[in-house]
């Protein structure tokens, strides 16, 4: 039992790597989601095409396949990535593709009259998007973004297979060193679940804060 505290330290180190990956992956996913989501509703055919290809490509294959491709095939093309870089890249691009559809849906969900009001106020396309459409669309996106963030957190476990020392990897280390299976896996499952609860709580709080002052405006 005294040894167990040492192993728990190992698992907590893994938890930090998992949190880092989730945060960095989320930032990349958020950037990609807005780029591709706005690209999908662009008036330029070429931008729409690029965004569609990106989204279909990354949603069509799983994160696991993309991660292995990034880690094992890209070095042959002269681009060597560390496991952490490959992990963030694959997670961000994959989840970003799913979130891009959320951005597109939320932008399209803003009523026609809002767009007409932008025209009436003589706002440019970008000004209207920035000051009128996005602030309303953001609130629609937020709950689904929360789900996407939890999916991303769960997907980080895959990076253990390219030898990045995250929670899942450390659980395997503890299993092979102690031969005990129940303790490492149960503690890791509980930590993942706790992190997922924190994300969903955080998103709910953020949503409540952003909805402030919008009562009666939202349907």
């Amino acid at each position: 039992m005294t040894q167990w505290s040492g192993y728990l330290g190992l698992i907590l180190q893994g938890a930090i790597v998992t949190i880092e990956l989730t945060l960095m992956g989320s930032v990349l996913a958020l950037i990609m989601a807005f780029l591709a989501g706005m690209g999908r509703v662009s008036r330029f055919v070429i931008l729409r095409a690029i965004a569609t290809v990106y989204i279909e490509f990354f949603r069509g294959t799983s994160i696991f396949v993309q991660l292995f491709w990034a880690y094992f095939v890209l070095p042959f093309a002269g681009l060597s990535l560390t496991p952490l870089q490959a992990g963030v890249l694959a997670l961000g691009l994959n989840v970003g593709a799913y979130a891009a559809e959320v951005v597109r849906g939320a932008i399209l969900s803003v009523g026609r009259e809002q767009y007409e009001a932008c025209t009436a106020l003589n706002l440019g396309r970008w000004q209207g998007m920035r000051h009128v459409i996005l602030p309303q669309a953001l609130l629609v996106m937020l709950p689904t973004f929360g789900n996407n963030a939890i999916e991303l957190l769960k997907a980080t476990s895959v990076v253990s297979l390219i030898s990045l020392a995250d929670l899942t990897f450390q659980a395997q280390v503890v299993r092979s060193q102690t031969g005990s299976t129940l303790m490492p896996f149960v503690s890791v499952l509980v930590i993942y679940f706790a992190l997922a609860l924190i994300i969903s709580w955080g998103v709910r709080t953020l949503e409540r804060r952003m909805a402030r002052g919008l009562d009666g405006v939202r349907v």
């Binding site: 696991f64 297979l161 659980a171 299976t181 609860l197």
Partner: protein, 219 residues
């Protein structure tokens, strides 16, 4: 980075062996997920509040933790309490349980969508609980759910590469083993990616058709 077609033809038979296992795991996992989901959805509507609450929490927990860790749990922890499962069976149970918690939500929405009048009519016709479910509620609730269920089965199909982590010899594992034998990663990894991409692009067409066929609710 050079692509060698001769090598592609050489490894093709091995990869096709893997494809068979991938499809087998998806089909069995889908059947299990469909049954488990229905079970969870029914249990959450149970009169007994402890059953309803307990199953609800259990499903929430499974949904908030990574499939990979759950697979490890089934594969490594269960043998310690005397349940020794072959890798494929462990993998199918993992997939079925994980996606069962997602399909449960689909069933829940489908059952909630059956109008109240149908329940009252069943009561008026003096049908007992079991007959109400099998003859009145489920036949009306299930067809509109089919597109959403199919969506999760396609998602499950894309997640099957995770089974390679518990030594199931499916497509990803075969690709990894040929890649390690010949130290050529470009062809096997790209073929795996292309295979999943092609299948998921085809499944988009299938989903459209399913939505057209079953998606509308006639009132």
């Amino acid at each position: 980075m050079d692509w060698d077609w001769n090598f592609v033809w050489e490894i093709m038979p091995t990869l096709i062996q893997g494809v068979k296992i991938t499809i087998l795991a998806t089909v069995l996992g889908s059947i299990l997920a469909a049954i488990v989901g229905l079970g969870i959805a029914l249990a959450r509507r149970s009169e007994n509040r402890f059953v309803a609450r307990g199953v609800g929490w259990f499903a929430e927990f499974i949904r908030g933790t990574p499939l990979l860790v759950q697979l490890y749990f089934i594969f490594y922890v269960l043998p310690d309490i005397g349940i020794l499962l072959p890798p494929l069976v462990a993998g199918v149970i993992g997939l079925g349980l994980h996606y069962g918690t997602y399909t449960a939500e689909v069933y829940r929405a489908g059952i909630d969508n059956v109008p109240r009048g149908q329940w009252e009519a069943a009561k008026a016709c003096n049908l007992n609980g079991r007959h109400t479910w099998t003859h009145i509620i489920l036949p009306q609730a299930i067809p509109p759910m089919i597109p959403a269920l199919a969506n999760y089965f396609i998602a499950m199909f894309k997640e099957t590469p995770l089974l390679s982590a518990i030594t199931v010899l499916e497509l990803m594992n075969q690709a990894k083993s040929v890649a390690n034998t010949y130290y050529r990663y470009i062809e096997p990894m790209t073929l795996v990616g292309a295979f999943f991409l092609v299948i998921s692009l085809c499944s988009v067409v299938l989903l459209r058709w399913l939505e057209h066929r079953y998606g509308r609710i006639e009132r």
